[in-house]
């Protein structure tokens, strides 16, 4: 099993969700996060004060998948989150030891 953790532009979330659903993935966890990467921070002005916000709002979504789904899910997220500009985000792939469905106690791939 793999844990796929993607940091994307907030406004692409809807597309990514739809693309994942098309790929047969419905279970996912979404968090509002802030982060820094190659994308420069944005300038915000409040009256006389000018602030460069170096931590930019992003959305992180986490999906646990079976090993053979992983490539399809990566492709779906990349295509849906892509704009071509700096700041599109990153996807991290982590090995996943085990999983457990709380209601039934199922373990492993069956619990996903």
């Amino acid at each position: 099993m793999k844990m796929i953790s993607a940091v994307i532009r907030p406004h692409r979330l809807q597309h990514v969700k739809e693309a994942l659903a098309d790929a047969g993935i419905v279970g996912l966890t979404v968090t509002d996060v802030r982060g820094a990467g190659r994308q420069k921070g944005q300038i915000e002005r409040y009256r006389g004060s000018e602030y460069s916000m170096d931590l930019i709002p992003k959305v992180k979504l986490e999906v646990a998948v079976e090993d053979d789904q992983s490539e399809a899910v990566l492709r779906a997220i990349r295509e849906a989150a892509y704009t071509g500009e700096i700041g599109d985000g990153k996807i991290f792939i982590l090995p996943l030891d085990d999983a457990l469905r709380i209601r039934t106690g199922e373990r492993g791939e069956g619990s996903l």
């Binding site: 915000e44 409040y46 006389g48 004060s49 602030y51």
Partner: protein
């Protein structure tokens, strides 16, 4: 209602006694009796009309402090301090009201010397349903008293913007009580009180025009704000750390409430519901509108984007600047005043503050100090007898008012009024800050400042969601 009934009965009784006395001499004809009765009814109707507008205005002016100013300032601070600034405004609504009833009203409006009123109205003695013709012949003195109270509340509340996010609550309360007695009461008496040194309508030596409080409210609060910002020093991390407003949304709602409340502030200052109130209402609105456009356009040109915070700041700047002028200028002059106020206050906040580097957290000086000064001086230029014939010679002929009428001397009077307001505010505030700093200490400890005033001063958080 009950009051009026008693009042009427008393009137009838008096009339009856006089009639009885007169009966032996000349009996008034039925026509004369009818005319007398009609005159009494007309006076009563006028009083009811004026009084209802003044009670509404009083409520509108209170609405400017809470929720208007509380939301405007609350949105501009960081999330951890939102309750602390709202609490400052809200507690001032309570504290100043009590002080006003005990002695404040008397010190400001009772007969006294040129600089301070006496104690004849202490504990609101003699402040009842009977009008005081010197202030307004048609509204109960009690209405006048409560209307003026609302001004005394918002003025110190405006200062809180300068020391937001770093002053101890206990020190704030002590500072405001002293400030009310040392700065506000004398200034209100000088400009609006009977025999006040600057009173234009009631025999002041230097007749300064201040329709609704450019000097009394905005210069005193704005200049005191600057002194507070300088004396307390910068917030920890300013200007290195970003301190963006935590919710411009709250500030927009606050600014809208201020704009509406300002109609009570300025048009209510006519102290009647006649055409002067309409004139002040229109001038107020147009100045706010023009200043909003001016600030937004200045920002658009300089930064490439017109900001929401800029637009609402502009409206407040325009409202501040028209305050002393509202009942003296034409609608077109109001547009000019708004244009100047919006542009100048923008430069004060965006450029001048940066050059000097003081930390006036919420720009109380840049908007109220600068806007109030500008408005007081522009009143000397644009005031005209066509709107308000406040100056008359001994025969009752109308005299010119401002520079547009050809009376350039008024500009000098205005400058003297401005200078006195600046001096009293600056010196008074400095002395009070020294006292409070020595006795209580002004600033909260650095750890508490980092934690935020909501938790450290009040044990609460603004948002538990």
């Amino acid at each position: 209602m009950h009051r009026y009934r008693i009042f009427f009965l008393a009137l009838l009784l008096c009339a009856g006694v006089r009639l009885a006395a007169a009966q032996s001499e000349v009996q008034p004809s039925p026509a004369e009796q009818k005319i007398a009765r009609l005159e009494a009814q007309i006076a009563d109707a006028k009083s009811a009309g004026d009084n209802s507008w003044m009670l509404v205005s009083s409520a509108l002016v209170l609405m400017m402090t809470g929720p208007g100013l509380a939301l405007f300032y609350g949105g501009l601070v960081r999330k951890k301090n939102v309750l602390s600034v709202m609490m400052q405004s809200f507690m001032l609504m309570a504290i100043i009201s009590v002080l006003w009833a005990l002695v404040g009203y008397s010190l400001a409006f009772a007969p006294g010397n040129s600089f301070l009123g006496g104690l004849s109205h202490a504990f609101l003695r003699g402040v009842g349903g009977t009008p005081d013709a010197d202030y307004s012949s048609t509204i109960p003195l009690q209405t006048f008293m409560v209307y003026q109270l609302m001004f005394a509340i918002i003025t110190p509340a405006l200062i809180t913007g300068a020391f937001a996010e770093r002053m101890k609550f206990s020190a704030m309360v002590a500072f405001m009580i002293l400030w009310f007695f040392i700065v506000y009461a004398p200034m209100a008496h000088m400009v609006w009180g009977k025999g006040g040194f600057l009173n234009a309508a009631l025999g002041g030596r230097v007749p300064t025009l201040d329709f609704a409080g450019g000097t009394v409210v905005h210069i005193t609060s704005g200049v005191s704000a600057l002194v507070c910002a300088l004396f307390l020093g910068k917030r920890l991390g300013y200007p290195r750390e970003p301190m963006p407003p935590h919710s411009v949304v709250l500030s927009v709602i606050g600014a809208c409430l201020l704009w509406v409340g300002w109609f009570g502030f300025n048009a209510g200052s006519a102290l009647s519901a006649g055409s002067l109130a309409s004139s002040a209402f229109v001038a107020t609105h147009l100045s706010a509108a023009m200043a909003t456009i001016a600030w937004a356009v200045m920002e658009w040109i300089r930064n490439g984007k017109p900001s929401v915070l800029g637009a609402i700041s502009g409206s407040v700047a325009g409202l501040v600047a028209i305050t002393p002028a509202a009942g003296f200028v034409t609608p077109m002059s109001a547009l000019v005043i708004g244009l100047i106020a919006g542009s100048v206050c923008y430069l004060m906040v965006a450029k001048v503050k940066g050059i000097f580097g003081y930390d006036d957290s919420l720009d109380a000086f840049g908007v109220h100090g600068a806007g109030g000064t500008l408005g007081a001086l522009l009143t000397g230029i644009f005031a005209t007898s066509a709107v308000n014939s406040i100056f008359k010679d001994s025969k009752g002929a109308v005299l010119p008012v401002g520079l547009v009428d050809g009376h350039g001397g008024q500009l000098l009077n205005q400058a003297i009024g401005v200078l006195i307001a600046w001096c009293i505010a600056a010196v008074g505030t400095y002395v009070i800050l020294r006292i409070v700093d020595a006795v209580i200490g002004l600033r909260i400890p650095p750890d508490d400042e980092i934690m935020g005033l909501d938790l450290s001063q009040h044990g609460e958080e603004g948002y538990n969601i």
